[in-house]
């Protein structure tokens, strides 16, 4: 199964802003994220005939964007710090966000933080996140459940807390 240019365009229109916001958590700023994302869509256009549908189209484009962003990041770090492979997790680019939310996000493990950004910025489905992070959908669901509880508590959302995990064994 391949994808058409029309599907890629639809993805671009629907997801570009969300992907940019999620990607900014990796690049550290929106301008670099936008640049990397545009480059990723350009590459996706060229490579579209090679897309075989092994994963959702959104996950495929995200991977290209992620690689592009990391490449740019490594290039910058090499010039600036001499440490191209620093192991930092994705961080929210704070833009007037609720400080409690920022703190709660920082307290999450890096992978869970990325899952949160992919879900709430980019509207990625569980299947897309699973394909991006190379984990099962059940793990995505469980990670989001835990993150949701932490973020809801930070925002004083009125919910009944239940950390029951449902997909184990």
């Amino acid at each position: 199964m391949s994808a058409s240019l029309a599907e890629l365009e639809l993805l671009y229109r629907d997801r570009f802003i969300g992907f940019k916001r999620a990607l900014a958590s990796i690049t550290g700023d929106y301008a670099t994220a936008e640049e990397a994302l545009q480059e990723a869509f350009l590459r996706a256009m060229t490579a579209l005939p090679e897309f075989r549908g092994e994963c959702p189209l959104g996950a495929w484009v995200w991977r290209i964007a992620h690689r592009t962003a990391l490449g740019e990041l490594r290039r910058r770090r090499r010039h600036r710090l001499g440490d191209p492979d620093g192991d930092e997790g994705p961080e929210l680019v704070v833009h007037g966000h609720d400080p409690r939310l920022v703190d709660a996000l920082r307290a999450l493990p890096p992978r869970r933080r990325l899952i949160v950004f992919l879900r709430y910025f980019a509207d990625c489905s569980y299947a897309e996140i699973a394909a991006i992070c190379e984990i099962s959908e059940g793990t995505v669901a469980a990670s989001l459940a835990q993150a949701r509880s932490a973020l809801a508590a930070a925002l004083d959302l009125d919910v009944e807390h239940d950390l029951r995990t449902e997909e184990l064994r």
Binding site: F41, L101, A127, R148
Partner: protein, 462 residues
């Protein structure tokens, strides 16, 4: 947190993250298309240079890897040697772990949670294709346990009895499915050598440094109602992570997926390879299951359980198929109309027929619940059936287990049922299990409230 409140909270979190950033529009698509069409000679030159550079770098790295085995590979090799090997049978014992269960009071609709401790012990003989797992509930009732037993031809549960295997025809042996950690530890060294497991980073557990080992696993889930089919294999998925103590090199914990930050995992008490004479691989005797406890969804030997045959029935044939009045049969359930009735045979090959009925209310497709739809699925049988999620709960209906799990469905327009038809089509469902009219009944839907309401409606009917 209920499914409905998830949606509300999701929206609030989404808003808290996105609102400060305001509304934005993506850059023009047509401009991007123009850029794609424009000559990119300089880019190609850079790219060609990059390819050359990368190729050279890869060659150097490959040479280094050959000459200097990685420190992590050394550790993993040593870890493989750390499991005592006195025989061909794997023996794995877990420490007691808490399992939380929700219980529904159908009279009031109130749901409360109880936590029970479980303790698992398993044996696996790969050469003889035999697997046995005992789940005990320490501190509850003396001897309370369930036993799962698998060979390449049948599955057996002390609670559910013999179960049909997915895709199993008489005389046909199937590849035995066991939990990933059992498969790994039974052939630890070979699995590491063939990259069936790989280094997944490091961390700490109880203050002790550990390294993580990722196990890749092929998940073959059964497809309800379609004997012989499965949902395909998700290759490359990290199914479990094993934590290995860096100092002793003993495996110390198992985590689902890669999320090692998610609680304590399942702690390993001991793992060893023992002689057959010391292994307990006998088929278990039937035992009643302790009330208000579930064997847990997705137990590995049971993941291959399936119906043998399935056909569409006229609604008035459902009770005849079951040989007693179907408890959940009515024109509408929780406001949803009856859309389809299926009659299943649930017995393994060569055993007396066990009939079951599936009633689909609301959104359906090909006489099955429609993925993503608003439906209620009622499954009934005269014996507890693992495939149906019916349980050996007591006749008393004061405490009905309410489970949240994931179910797989094919897309309605999928050309092929089974492999690759619906790998990504799994959804969260809520299920209750209870007894009514001497039948074992399970009720499932995507909505927790709908499942509760449908359950109460069935139970309140005379």
């Amino acid at each position: 947190m209920s499914f409905e409140s998830h949606l509300v909270v999701d929206e609030q979190i989404r808003d808290a993250l996105n609102a400060p950033l305001g509304d934005e529009q993506p850059p023009s698509w047509s401009v991007l298309v123009e850029r794609a069409r424009a000559p990119r000679r300089s880019r190609r030159r850079v790219w060609a240079f990059s390819v050359g550079t990368v190729a050279a770098a890869c060659a150097v790295v490959a040479l280094l890897l050959l000459l200097l085995p990685g420190r992590h590979n050394d550790l993993l090799e040593n870890a493989a040697a750390a499991i005592p090997a006195k025989g061909p049978v794997l023996h794995l014992v877990y420490r007691p772990s808490p399992v939380t269960q929700q219980l529904l009071d159908p009279a009031t609709g109130h749901v409360h949670a109880v936590t029970v401790m479980t303790r698992d012990e398993l044996w696996y003989d790969p050469a003889r294709h035999l697997y046995k797992e005992i789940r005990r509930f320490p501190g509850t009732e003396p001897g309370a346990s369930d036993v799962l037993w698998r060979s390449s031809k049948e599955a057996y549960s002390a609670v559910f009895g013999r179960q049909a295997l997915s895709g199993h025809a008489p005389g046909q042996a199937l590849a035995i499915q066991v939990p990933p950690e059992a498969a790994l530890f039974s052939r630890y060294r070979q699995a590491l050598a063939s990259h069936e497991a790989s280094y997944g980073g490091s961390g700490t557990l109880d203050g002790h440094p550990v390294l993580y080992l990722w196990i890749y696993h092929c998940v073959l889930a059964p497809f309800p109602g379609h004997p012989g089919s499965s949902l395909g294999c998700t290759e490359g998925t990290v199914d479990e992570t094993i934590a290995i103590d860096k100092k002793t090199l003993d495996p110390v914990a198992v985590y689902p997926g890669t999320d090692t930050a998610r609680g304590p995992g399942f702690r390993i008490e001991s793992v060893s390879l023992i002689p057959r004479s010391e292994a307990d691989l006998g088929m278990p005797a039937r035992t009643p299951f302790p009330p208000a406890m579930t064997p847990g969804p997705g137990g590995c030997p049971c993941a291959t359980v399936d119906v043998r045959t399935s056909k569409t029935l006229a609604p008035d044939s459902a009770s005849a198929w079951l040989a007693r009045p179907a408890a959940g049969l009515r024109g509408r359930l929780d406001g949803l109309p009856l859309e389809a009735v299926r009659g299943d045979s649930l017995n393994p090959a060569g055993l007396p027929v066990r009939h079951g009925v599936e009633l689909i209310y609301g959104s359906s497709c090909k006489a099955m619940p429609r993925y993503g739809g608003d439906y209620v699925l009622v499954q009934e049988s005269r014996t507890p059936e693992f495939f149906y999620g019916t349980q050996a709960t007591p006749a008393s209906t004061h405490a009905i287990p309410l489970e949240s799990t994931y179910s797989h469905f094919a897309e309605c327009n999928a050309e092929k049922i089974g492999f690759y038809a619906s790998q990504d089509r799994s959804e969260r469902i809520w299920t209750t299990a209870f007894r009514k009219n001497g039948l074992y009944v399970s009720v499932s839907s995507r909505s927790r409230q709908r499942t509760i309401a449908a359950t109460r409606q069935i139970l309140s009917a005379r």
